[in-house]
Amino acid sequence: MATNHDPDLPAPHDEHRRNFLKQSSLLTALALVPSAVVEAAESKLDERVAEAIEKIPLSLKINGKKHKLKVEPRTTLLDLLREDLHLTGTKKGCDYGQCGACTVHVDGLRVNSCLSFAVMHDGQEITTIEGLASGDDLHPMQEAFVKHDGFQCGYCTPGQIMSAVACVREGHAGSEAEIREYMSGNICRCGAYANIVAAIQDVKSGGKKV
């Protein structure tokens, strides 16, 4: 395969990757005999090779805690949070930046974590829904969402709350119409919109630090 490059594969631009693929193909030659493959995977040979070649060091501060990580460059911030760090409060609704369920704060700004690669955030500070409350004390926005029933199934809720906090901090919660506009990147299929607006207005006028 080194000479006849498979067009579906990325160009084998360096020897390391080619060697890696060769080695990997040995391991997975028995792909349709699962028990043997699982055994090979258990030995973590793949993992050790990939670790050296495919992963990039990354420092992140997530919810106040420093993380020294090695991640594949193709790993999105969302998948890093959910799959690797088990911070599953941040939700995957569409993976295309179309629904807002994955909204987190990066250095204080709201972003769709599915649309950004983890390695783009080296040295940055990430806040997820898990980092919003201080201990058992809910953030005022979390409290307001419970009080005003700003959710039903709860799946879009972490994204809504992260967006809502940013909406107030950005100064975009001046009126009902403004809130509706600046919260329209977060879809709620259960239809809690009116209650979300009420929660944000309550927090905005409540005087607590947001």
Binding site: D6, D8, S24, S25, T28, A29, A31, L32, P34, V37, V38, A41, D46, E47, V49, A50, R74, T75, E83, H86, L87, T88, G89, T90, K91, K92, G93, C94, D95, Y96, C99, A101, T128, I129, E130, A133, L138, Q142, F145, V146, D149, F151, Q152, C153, G154, Y155, C156, T157, A177, R180, E181, I187, C188, R189, C190, G191, A192, Y193, N195, V197
Partner: protein, 778 residues
Amino acid sequence: MDIEPTFSKTNPTAGVVGQPMSRVDGWAKVTGRATYSAEYSGLPGLVHAVLKTSDVAHGRVQSIDVSAAQRAPGVLAIFTHQNLPKLAKTPNSPDDRKAFVSSPMGFFPMESDQIFYAGQPVAVVVADTLERAQYAASLLKVSIVPEATISSYLDPKAQLYTPKTVKGMPGVTKRGDAQEAFAGAPVQLTATYTHATIHHNPMEPGATTAHWEGPNRLTVYDSTQGVSETQKTLAAMLGLATEQVRVVCKFIGGGFGCKAWVWPHTTLAALVAKAVGRPVKLVLTRPQQFTSMGHREEQAQTLRLGATREGKLLALIHDKSSTTSPWDDYAETNTRITNMLYALPAFEGTYHLAHANVMTSTATRAPGDMPGAFALESSMDDLAYQLGLDPIQIRLLNYADKDPSNGHPWSSKSLKQCYQRGAELFGWNQRNPKNGQTRAGKTLVGWGMATASYPVHNSQGNARVRLYADGHAVVQAGATDLGTGTYTVMTQVAADSLGLPPENIRFELGDTDLPSTQWSGGSTAAGRVSSSVYLAAQDVWQRLIKVAVQDNKSPLYRAKIEDVMVVKGQLLFRTDPDTGEAFGEVMKRAGMSDIEGSALGRYGSSYEAPRAAANADPNKKDHASEHSMHAFGAHFCEVHVDPELGTVRVTKWVSVIAGGRILNPKTARSQVMGGSIFGIGAALMETTERDPHLARYTNADLAGYHIPVNADIPDMTVEFIDEHDPYVNAMGVKGIGEISIVGTSAAVANAVFHATGRRLRSLPMTPDKVLAAMREPV
């Protein structure tokens, strides 16, 4: 023993039922601690499965080249139709299919090389990380020999037929001679209404985590509306005993009907998990969601309405044409509501289906009633306009005092109150009777309304109550909470039944290890589960009374059981309510740390025990099944239509619902708003476009498929009519999840008609259609 009415209608402050309590699962949901089916990350050795699906809608798989994918790092296994482990039973066999509790589709993919619809799974890749599984799936080279496709019932190649039955209802329903009555009617209206394909699109896509804990021991974390149905169906398909499969769903990110069934991806996850010997997580991508869990079928309805010159209905002939899959005679049962909503002497309803290359459509919020109401309620609006009557007046003129479809009396019906209260809240009496007369700046303003109704379906299920002597209780039922508030309202019911504060109750659901109950679907869960919980608490009462009357230290010693009543966690003498003792006292003296009770709760016409109902007259002997059971309501809508852009904005909304006892007005209000928004979406923007040549969706994501966002929706007013129904179940609950959408699209269309003088009969009413209508003469 007579049952004391804990849930006093006359003293609503007696307990927490009927109070706007905040959700008990709110903390978990706002902190990100609520665990959904793809979030059981701690399972040892968890690996990821990714589906590869067909781009072709009809054909045969010629080859799948797995060589590149096999070499990709981290890949554990690749399954195609050639090596997928065999199922014990598949829906592909009609005999097998009968064994399934939940079988939404007469087809299971990857059993052969045949491709019947675009998006059909052709391979499953399992790898150690999600990225590696996705990458390996992208390396699969699938070669399919295409065959001619049929894209929908509108395809020139499609052949319409009338099925014997649809969803258990006859393909043709006749009551009286509707054809003759229509032919002789002085006023005749004929109109055809068309509907786009709609997808449920819950925010959480379908997700399954399958964990084989032993060769015959499977635990599945599945995003499902019914853990029990999923358990039984998976067991049958995998050749296991029911007990060998455990299904868990503690939190589900919305369902709306699409998660009410066991779809192929769930079974595939279980199959491949067994083959690789690891727990496997399979999550649908958003585009895959459009081709994996059903949809509301595209359809056309022709209504022929005959009436007197005064506006009394004489006949309705209702024809529905729609697309079904290659294997099933599936259609939403639109004629259910058109046959019962108004006093109508003659009715004829016929279904016409055409097989096409698309998966089987499925229950979508108020299946049948939602589109049926759009057609009927638009036609009623036309009739009112034609005769110069107010839209409410024409509905009152045809008010059904009993169910015209079967002649039964209603178990309860408060529709007139819904009209009246809705009109008050909306300010309906200010309505200009003429169309196209009201402007706000450049925009045309219109008001519309429509009737809502949804039946009370039969269902039943169990619950268990364990009361501890310290005044805390664990209450369990294997139900699900779709965001409907099940956790919360059951906590309220248990609290009042046991005379405890709600914070002393832990209500558990979403696990087949708990007492089995049916799914959350068809608006059945609130009534069924609350009745089960209430009756299980009554079982605890009965047991405690027996202990107390045999205890010589109890003030109730040697009392006759029928002389003891229960009030707020106390056993009291009926004739001397100052004498008695608390549940805990009885238990402590008897050395009981806890006591358990359980019960089967019935809902709908199978509910035959009015004496067990808290709110029933125990001397009344009539039976539930002699009644027709429906919730009723009315929606009112204001729109602003921009005549130059064709845009329609909903600017005001009022819903008034009579749904029996409302367990929690806070969560109920949210649910009704949500249903209305679902209907506004269908009215104005939601459509999945299937390419007429390739039978493939062209907009299968949330940028192409428009769901209402916050800026699309105004503040909404929701109220409930205080309604007392002794027949539907022990708690008198009818359910509100579905009725909240019924009639909503018609309310919007009627408002557009009022604003513009143009009747739009094709959903969604997108700007292009509105502009085209504006160009037509009034």
